[in-house]
């Protein structure tokens, strides 16, 4: 059975929801990982949850990467382990250098909290293999610093390599300006690393697993990880 670690940093908010969704809704083993842990307790996948780790001091995600557990997370990622960062987790992965680019203040300067339509650009990744190509998903977003930026060369490389996994779209599946909640370049909502084993996105899959809470498209990301692990994670 999938054994997924969920890291709690000081200031994490969504760790409990992630643990709940994994164990109570999806029925897989969820393992809490503490920021001071030196090991990973034998997990086969890791989620860095949303929140405001270390109060977002200096820059969001900048201080969390110095937590003791992050040495193990980086080592796990570099050896091919599956790591998914959601919201603040995405910011941490960028700050840790595991994903390219950075997340800055929303262009509107407003904190956005609403449902967002996404389009799955690739369904051949470890994190989206349970989706169909071009599938529309509805997931909650809630962030003040979710504007994805990268320099021109990096953006070209990310797009060229097909590292963009999900984009913000409107109800018709078009990447319009109006559908872009934060000003992200090319409506980018989530990306993978070149190796395909590290994924970050701003929308909250963990809040959208239980149908009783209104949305359940988020479950597809966790089911994808589960399927990838069942295949032996030979990405």
């Amino acid at each position: 059975m999938m054994r997924c670690g969920v890291v709690t940093f000081p200031g994490s908010l969504d760790d409990a929801d992630t643990l709940y969704s994994l164990s109570e809704v999806l029925g897989v083993e969820a393992v809490p990982l503490w920021h001071k842990d030196r090991g990973l307790h034998g997990v086969d996948s890791i989620v860095l949850p949303g929140g405001f780790s270390y109060g977002d001091y200096l820059r969001s995600g900048a201080l969390a990467r110095f937590s003791p557990v992050m040495d193990s997370v980086v080592e796990f990622a570099n050896s091919g382990g599956l790591v998914m960062g959601l919201c603040n987790g995405f910011q941490i992965l960028c700050e840790a250098g595991l994903l390219p680019g950075a997340l800055v203040r929303n262009q509107s300067l407003l904190f956005v909290c609403r449902a967002a339509h996404l389009r799955v650009e690739r369904n051949d990744t470890a994190f989206t293999n349970s989706c169909s190509e071009g599938e529309r998903l509805l997931l909650p977003i809630k962030h003040g610093e979710g504007c994805f930026v990268a320099n021109a060369d990096t953006l070209e490389r990310i797009e060229g390599n097909g590292q963009v996994v999900v984009r913000y779209v409107d109800e018709n599946g078009e990447t319009t300006q109006a559908a872009n909640p934060n000003g992200s370049l090319n409506n980018i909502a989530g990306i993978v690393n070149e190796a395909g084993n590290v994924f970050g996105m701003m929308p909250h899959a963990e809040h959208a697993c239980d149908r009783a809470l209104g949305m359940d498209d988020g479950a597809k990301f966790f089911r994808s990880i589960e399927a990838q692990l069942a295949r032996g994670n030979a990405s």
Partner: protein, 83 residues
């Protein structure tokens, strides 16, 4: 020694907070204002070998104080208490 570190958004990186501040200045009548950019100003006391302080500060900026993807930095080092 005292170090002063200035971290600013890179040219070309959107700075919506700077833009909003500029708009506010315009609405106050300061219409001559252009290109407002908001950054961080960090001061610190540094002990140790004065010949190494520049390299050490550069490391601090690259590893933590600035994010090279979106920010530039510069710093000054002086005697504590001397402006």
């Amino acid at each position: 020694m005292q170090a002063k570190v200035y971290v600013t958004p890179k040219a070309g990186v959107l700075d919506p907070a700077g833009k909003a501040t500029q708009k506010a200045l315009h609405s106050l009548g300061f219409e001559e204002v252009r290109d407002v950019r908001l950054g961080r100003y960090i001061t610190m006391e540094v002990e140790g070998d004065p010949t190494e302080v520049t390299a050490r500060l550069d490391d601090m900026c690259r590893q933590l104080l600035a994010n090279g993807v979106i920010e530039d930095y510069r710093f000054e080092v002086g005697e504590t208490g001397v402006e």
